[in-house]
């Protein structure tokens, strides 16, 4: 079967094009976000770990060293078993501080640009062998398929193609900070292709070459040395060393770090990856041994590295194509992700720092970053090609990969120190890394260079370290890690950490709860933008400040010091995601400076501590949990107290503003806490400041006029000691308790009024009773005198006496009605048609001469009803209409207007009379208060009206001016369920109702 080079080239381009479509579909949202965040997709994306090394090199390693090849995946399994204590803390740091690479992580922890630079340089150099391995694998596989040993343009063409696709996958957008869903989807797809291809080849090896598992077993029995060759190296080879190297590589290789942490779309997926990823690796490696034996059984004349291709080569079923695509998949995924990860590191820790030191990047930071990243991707892939081209590697694919593994392992001591040892500092880390790198270079790279005739001196440093037949990998790993760890520990112990390093160590250790310190010199987000624009350009500055404001839910006009401090911190974190933590800190420290040694407002510290404790609650253990629960309980008690609590710090900044305080003042907590009490809106500002400045510790029944109503308030004040927060002791704070008595006063007034009415009622009943008897006698005598005399004069006098006794009778009946009305409030009521009550009242009032000339206007729906007593309602209207008559002139209109809403029925009695002076409005409902001349009114009419309305659960108000008076009665509307009772009473004209009506026409 003849395979042409151009066929393979187009296959590569077509496959990468298909990958790009997958990535594009994901970014455009054609693939559901839910699917992209699925743990299976995440696990498959981690499959970038399995490169050409796995695809081709594992068979070669199995041929050479038996089951040693499994260590590369068993080590990963151990890493992921430890994910909760090893990987999860790193994920937390990466997400919280928006770190985008290994170099970012170390630069953040050790607060040193040199750290980031060194890690970046070391990774760039250390990973080059790995990149060249991928190029070599694809080139060799093409040679195997085409039979053409000339490499020619193959490798550069492959590299250029991959560079273009790497840029398309990871550096296409103008703002390069967002996660790349497309990249994740594409890598997951590639892993699936790899797995399917290898499993297909494995199945072919078993069923196609051997003819089944049984046949393979027979072959094994015929070749017992095959099994022995598999198992022997486990005990004799560098098993433990390779296990350790794989353990480190699982998360310290740049591509692994990038996919596990930086491109993680769903933090919960890591827990699924703890077992799903090792399962993926197990399935991937299951075919390796059958493929190896299949190749052996076919006696293929090629490197075992390419048995995967070799056993499918002569088949017409096209399996070779799937196998080739699987190999391209493995290689391209590694190169794309690695070049993206390394480009990000190089940009943040080498290129941008140099650029910013030289001055600002001009007006478009984002475009500068994007093109910088694209250029670096090309440089890195070219570097890998250069290594491939220059180095003569005849040790097999795995050799190059292991060199990179040992390089990645040099970061292990630093990572463990970062997570678990707060004493470690940048000096120790740098010393350790340099020491380990030196050993790595001497033992592993120099022989390669010598082998390739780059170095002429034959210096074999391994001879210095090797004892016996120890493997080169054991020698390199042991001595490099030993030097690294020793220097890290010793130098950290003898040198001091800076304050920034200590702060970062706290942040990394999960136990840090240090409040943000200091105040920003710039007083507003607008000033932040102005300062930042000098370095990153106006567009980027506006975008970054706007983004941070949105994330913190702050307004552009924010001026509170604590919030500005948080804004500064958030801007730094966001910039860190784009430029790396070192550069971000440099920019923010330079442009958004803090006042030196400023007093951090206690309110800010307390709020910060509250927020951090809330976030940290699930991480607390033991007695700390109990203390935090107690703190929450006390906080809740204070917050829910029915009294307003306002706690102030030494500078009168508001620390606590509880729920009751918000209700009483109408000022929400967010607008109050953190601000000075002097910045509160009026009238509260003056009210509280005056009290604070006075020597009084209590003030009672203070009147406060707010927009809505007049409040009666008690104030209490006490001095309190301040807590020591974040090693900063404060002195002198105060707490104010605000007690709103308004409702209580209203109730007291109402009670007093009711008691007064009740006592008046009792007096009235007694007086009426005492007067009744002598009055009856006088009436009888006057009547007798009238009938017994013939004298007109005497008769006239008798008539006058009878008239006056009638008047006294009226007054007595009024008093009795008044006292009677106060006592019958609790009688059951029926639904009463208002129109009937009003019409009857009008009829009664119209009997007087003065009322005959009044124009009566009644606007009331004939079906409008209330629950009440008809007779008593008639009394109400009679009294009101009489008063209106008395105040009106002949011909004036008097209106009675009724209306209804959902809850109330409103009756308005309106006249155009002389009105009631405003100063008297409060008194008109007092018993015996009258403005009429002595003898013209008892002053009991309106109190009677007031009492009856209140008995009906209503209220009555008056509005009056010189142009007239309006009494407004509001009664509860009847409920829909209330049936019209059989005792439905008082149709108009009922003589009984007329007899029981008493008019207090001599009211006000």
């Amino acid at each position: 079967m003849k395979i042409e080079l151009w066929q393979l080239f187009f296959t590569v381009v077509a496959y990468l094009g298909a990958l790009f479509l997958v990535a594009y579909a994901a970014e455009r949202g054609w693939i559901a976000r839910r699917l992209l965040e699925h743990p299976l997709v995440y696990v498959l994306s981690l499959g970038v770990y399995a490169t050409s090394w796995t695809y081709y090199g594992s068979v070669g390693l199995a041929a050479k060293s038996g089951y040693t090849f499994l260590t590369i995946y068993l080590g990963v399994t151990l890493t992921f078993i430890m994910a909760p204590i090893l990987l999860n803390p790193i994920l937390r740091l990466v997400r919280e501080y928006q770190l985008t690479s290994l170099a970012d992580l170390f630069a953040f922890r050790f607060r040193s640009p040199v750290t980031g630079f060194l890690v970046t340089m070391f990774m760039l150099i250390g990973i080059l062998p790995y990149i060249s391995l991928q190029i070599q694998a694809v080139v060799e596989s093409i040679k195997v398929l085409t039979g053409d040993m000339r490499t020619g343009i193959l490798a550069p063409a492959y590299c250029v193609t991959l560079t273009i696709f790497a840029i398309l996958f990871g550096a296409r957008h103008i703002t390069p900070r967002e996660k790349h869903e497309g990249l994740v989807a594409a890598i997951a797809f590639e892993s699936a292709v790899k797995l399917v291809a290898l499993l297909a080849v494995g199945a072919f090896a078993v069923f196609g070459i051997f003819g089944g598992l049984g046949e393979m077993q027979h072959w094994l029995q015929a070749n017992p040395e095959a099994l022995d060759k598999l198992y022997r190296p486990v005990a004799t080879g560098p098993w433990l060393t390779l296990l350790l190297l794989a353990f480190c590589a699982a998360f310290l290789l740049p591509r692994q770090f990038h996919m596990i942490f930086v491109e993680n779309l769903n933090s919960g997926a890591l827990r699924h990856a703890a077992w799903m990823f090792p399962l993926f690796l197990l399935l991937l490696n299951l075919p390796i041994v059958p493929v190896l034996w299949a190749g052996r059984s076919l006696q293929l004349e090629m490197s075992p590295d390419f048995y995967v291709l070799g056993i499918t080569l002569n088949e017409e079923n096209g399996l070779w194509l799937l196998t080739f695509i699987g190999g391209v998949s493995a290689s391209s995924a590694m190169m794309i992700v690695t070049s993206l990860a390394l480009a990000s590191m190089a940009l943040n820790h080498i290129i941008l720092p140099m650029r910013f030191i030289g001055g600002s990047v001009g007006n478009d930071l984002y475009r500068w970053i994007l093109w910088g990243k694209r250029a670096l991707i090309a440089v890195i892939v070219a570097g890998g090609y250069g290594f491939f081209h220059v180095i003569d590697n005849n040790e097999g694919l795995v050799h190059l990969g292991l060199i990179s593994f040992v390089a990645a392992a040099q970061l292990l001591p630093g990572v463990l120190a970062l997570l678990f040892w707060r004493r470690a500092n940048s000096n120790g880390f740098i010393a350790g890394l340099l020491g380990g790198a030196l050993v790595w270079f001497g033992v592993l790279i120099m022989p390669l260079l010598v082998n390739s005739d780059i170095l002429t001196r034959d210096v074999d440093l391994t001879a210095l370290f090797r004892q016996g037949d120890s493997s080169i990998w054991t020698v390199a790993t042991f001595w490099s890690l030993a030097a690294n760890t020793f220097l890290l520990v010793m130098v950290s112990l003898v040198t001091r950490s800076s304050d920034e390093e200590r702060e970062a160590a706290e942040a990394c250790s999960e136990r840090g709860l240090t409040p943000l310190r200091g105040q920003v010199t710039d007083g507003s987000p607008k000033q932040f933008e102005k300062q930042l624009s000098r370095i990153i350009g106006p567009a980027a500055a506006e975008h970054e400040v706007g983004r941070a404001l949105e994330e913190l839910q702050l307004e552009r006009g924010e001026q509170r010091p604590a919030e500005l401090r948080l804004l500064r911190d958030r801007i730094e974190r966001n910039l860190s995601g784009m430029l790396g933590p070192v550069l971000a800190r440099m920019i923010v420290d330079n442009r958004l400076q803090l006042r030196e040694r400023t007093h951090t407002a206690l309110a800010d510290s307390i709020r910060f501590m509250e927020e951090r404790l809330k976030d940290s609650h699930s991480r607390m253990r033991g007695v700390v949990v109990e203390l935090d629960n107690l703190r929450r309980y006390h906080r809740e008690v204070l917050y829910e107290l029915p009294l307003g609590v306002c706690a102030l710090g030494p500078n009168d900044e508001i620390i606590i503003w509880n729920l009751a305080m918000q209700v009483i003042s109408g000022i929400d907590e967010r607008s109050a806490v953190g601000k000075s009490v002097s910045s509160l809106p009026e009238p509260w500002r003056g009210f509280l400041v005056d009290f604070l400045q006075s020597p009084d510790t209590h003030r009672y029944k203070q009147t406060l006029e707010t927009d809505e109503l007049q409040r009666s308030i008690n104030l209490h004040k006490a001095e309190i000691g301040m807590p020591e927060i974040g090693q900063q002791a404060e002195t002198g704070g105060q707490v104010i308790i605000v007690e709103d008595r308004s409702e209580l006063e209203t109730l007291e007034t109402s009670l007093a009024h009711s008691e007064r009415l009740a006592s008046i009622g009792r007096i009235a009943a007694g007086v009426a009773h005492e007067i009744g008897n002598p009055l009856t006698g006088i009436t009888s005598i006057a009547q007798n005198l009238r009938h017994e005399t013939d004298s007109d004069g005497v008769r006239q006098n008798a008539d006058d006496v009878l008239k006056q006794t009638d008047r006294i009778n009226d007054i007595v009946r009024t008093l009795l009605t008044f006292s009677h009305a106060e006592r019958i409030g609790s009688e059951p009521r029926n639904e009463t048609i208002l129109r009937h009550s009003i019409d009857e009242a009008v009829q009664l009032v119209s009997l007087s001469d003065a009322a005959k000339q009044i124009e009566w206007r009644v606007e009331c729906d004939v079906e409008l009803a209330v629950e009440g007593d008809h007779q008593r309602l008639v009394q109400v209207f009679v009294n009101l209409l009489n008063n209106a008559c008395d105040a009106s002139q002949p011909g004036d209109p008097i209106s009675v207007v009724c209306s209804r809403d959902m809850l109330h029925v409103t009756i308005r009695v309106i006249d155009k009379g002389c009105g009631i002076p405003e100063t008297l409005h409060e008194r008109i409902f007092e018993p015996f208060f009258t403005t009429k001349s002595v003898g013209s009114g008892t002053g009991l009419g309106l109190p009677l009206v007031h009492g009856i309305v209140h008995d009906h659960n209503g209220d009555i108000t008056v509005k009056s001016s010189s142009r007239g008076t309006e009494f407004v009665i509001r009664l509860p509307a009847p409920s829909p369920q209330s049936a019209r009772s059989s005792a439905f009473n008082s149709p108009a004209g009922d003589p009984k109702s007329a007899r029981h009506t008493t008019s207090a026409r001599d009211g006000v």
Partner: protein, 66 residues
Amino acid sequence: MREDRTSGRGRDIVVILTLLGLALFASPFTDWWARASFPWYFPFVLWGLLIALVAVTQILGHGFED
């Protein structure tokens, strides 16, 4: 999205599983099964059992806790 937190008990389980993994693949027990003439797929069986154990603890909610 909620991040996973590890309780004290969860950490214990992680340590136990790690030690088990080391016992299977990085201890004298490893040398033993390498010499014991087991079938070729034996290491995969051990590996699969370890993975299954991790899966069961994760599904039951130990190790990682929300």
